[in-house]
Amino acid sequence: MYKLVKLVAQRLGLGAIVLFAVSLIIFLGVELLPGDLCQEIQGQAATPETVAACRKELGLDQPAATRYLNWLGNIAQGDFGVSLANQRQISELIGVRLSNTLFLALVAAIISVPLALALGILAALYRNTWYDRAVNVVTLSSISFPEFFVAYILILFFAVNFGWFPALSNVSPDTPFWERVYRVILPATTLTLVVVAHMMRMTRAAIINLLASPYIEMANLKGMSRSHIILKHALPNAWAPIVNVIVINLAYLIVGVVVVEVVFVYPGLGQLIVDSVQKRDIPVVQACSLIFAATYVLLNLTADVLSIVTNPRLLHPR
């Protein structure tokens, strides 16, 4: 157990380094993009004088290294700064959107993870039956459609034709909880259709992969029931790859949903970061990236810890 604690501490430390590296990469990336905020914001209407005035006002005329170090200094004190484009406090700008993003991810995860596990375990149990094939065809087809297309189809049926759910998921901070749930059902369903196949198939594959192991053969010979073998003997050892895939998909639910946000007009972080990249609003891009990166590091650590905890061989290496 002590080893585990040490590992967690170590990984958190490394996580901080990862965050730093991410901020550097993103900063350089945005710097390398053609044009800067002043040109992008003024667009077709830009003139050399107004661009120069804008750069001076926002401090964009200073060298990149200076700006990065300034930003780093502020971050170290917990100050995300203000958006270059509209001078709003970034912490305030991001706060609401972050909670929206997490809420949608949570709803989608609550639907998709148990569903994927159940479907996967059942598919392993009844492998090569018609059930197995049907589940495979349905989930594979659902991930073959681009997510915006899945969203359009869901909207066509459930919003336009039946009128059960709204086509827009525009929630605001004062939207009541259940109203909020109601409004995110369609985007959450879209996301579920997108991620469930991956998790389900990995669950199935990981379990089947173990079925030929000697200890399973032994259990078989003992005459245990198939479901007992799979749930009690195969599943615990199959956790590592399953958890990994679940984590990848959870991370995706948080950081990769920009397309769904756009289609459902859901005010999450994805749209904010895409807009900010397009307008070169570096502090906002940086802040969003750090939040995404931190989410990722934490989820990742969870996955590793779970893998170790579920595999005694990893927990007590000889």
Binding site: L14, I17, V18, L19, A21, V22, I25, I26, G29, V30, L33, P34, R127, N128, N136, L140, S141, I143, S144, P146, E147, F148, F149, Y152, I155, L156, A197, H198, R201, A205, A206, I208, N209, L211, A212, A240, P241, N244, I248, A251, V255, G256, V258, V259, V262, G270, I273, V274, V277, S289, F292, A293, Y296, V297, N300, S307, N311, L314, P317, R318
Partner: protein, 302 residues
């Protein structure tokens, strides 16, 4: 496929048994194929069909890839079997050329991703220590940046040509492959037989290829099937943000995007390219499942 042609070229008509090992292998494969479940046969037929279309698209299509041959949105009919698109290009032609571009790009991208990610992942697990640490942290950093945002950045910096698109998607995808390869390898390298091999004094290369690789193949192959199909989707998502494959090149992801709004009026046009992707996805993964089943060492009656 290439195996088949090579071996038949080398044969003479009056060859006598016993057959050369190569042919025996072939015969084994054929026997396995005959015993394959219906779903796998279906998958193989689908894949073969797609490969055929991809290879012979210029012969099969009535018109040129980006040739404007009629007026826009012509209905299905004799001259244009599936009608024309928004610029008056033949839909069937675009769909067939799309097979070539889409599958080609997805295949190259996925192979590249597995080459990078798979090798690095297995090495990290087998070697451990600082190499594992360095690779894992590097991957952590890459994965910690949202993939879509990262591709958005990189594609804007380097332009949206097809080679750039392939390399960027492959590198970003390889991080996912790395994680999986490392995780499953870690489970294998602590197994008794690997430790035994180590104690025997086998080299790291031998252990990797003879002991680790065969044991981690199934989850990796399963992942390959999905990753391959995800490339289409990544390209489609990028085209949603205006950074996908550039016209007039036909690819299914962009074709879905271009015609997607039609579905809101119940028009099935966007279902054609989407269906093409779906059919291939199902086909590839059926074959993958069959392979998975075979390599798991389970007998069919289990």
């Amino acid at each position: 496929m290439s195996d088949a042609t090579e071996s038949t070229v080398g044969q003479t008509a009056d060859a006598v048994p016993p057959p050369p090992p190569r042919q025996r292998k072939l015969a084994d494969a054929w026997r396995a194929l005959k015993k394959a479940p219906l779903s796998a046969k279906f998958g193989l037929v689908v894949i073969a069909g797609y490969v055929f279309v991809a290879l012979f698209a210029p012969v099969l299509t009535p018109y040129g890839e980006s040739e404007i041959v009629g007026t826009e949105f012509e209905p299905w009919g004799e001259q244009f079997v599936l009608g024309t698109d928004n610029l008056g290009r033949d839909m069937l032609t675009r769909l067939l050329y799309g097979a070539r571009n889409t599958i080609g790009i997805a295949f190259v991208t996925t192979c590249l991703a597995f080459l990078i990610g798979g090798v690095a992942g297995i090495l990290a697990a087998a070697l451990g220590g600082w190499i594992d640490q360095a690779l894992s942290r590097m991957v952590d950093i890459l994965m910690a940046i949202p993939a879509l945002i990262f591709s958005l950045l990189l594609l804007t910096i380097f332009g949206t040509s097809i080679p750039v698109l392939i390399v960027i998607i492959a590198v970003l995808d390889s991080t996912r492959v790395y994680r999986l390869a490392r995780a499953v390898s870690l489970n294998v390298v602590v197994m008794d037989f690997v430790e035994a091999a180590r104690l025997r004094g086998e080299g790291i290369g031998w252990i990797t290829i003879r002991e680790v690789l065969p044991n981690i193949m199934p989850p990796l192959v399963a992942e390959f099937g999905l990753r391959f199909c995800f490339v289409f989707l990544t390209i489609a998502a990028l085209s949603f943000l205006g950074l996908g494959i550039q016209p007039p090149t036909a690819d299914w992801g962009s074709m879905v995007r271009d015609n997607a709004t039609l579905i809101t009026y119940g028009d099935v046009t966007p279902l054609l390219p989407a269906g093409a992707i779906a059919l291939l996805t199902v086909g590839v993964n059926f074959v993958v499942d069959w392979f998975l089943h075979k390599t798991s060492g389970l007998r069919d009656d289990q």
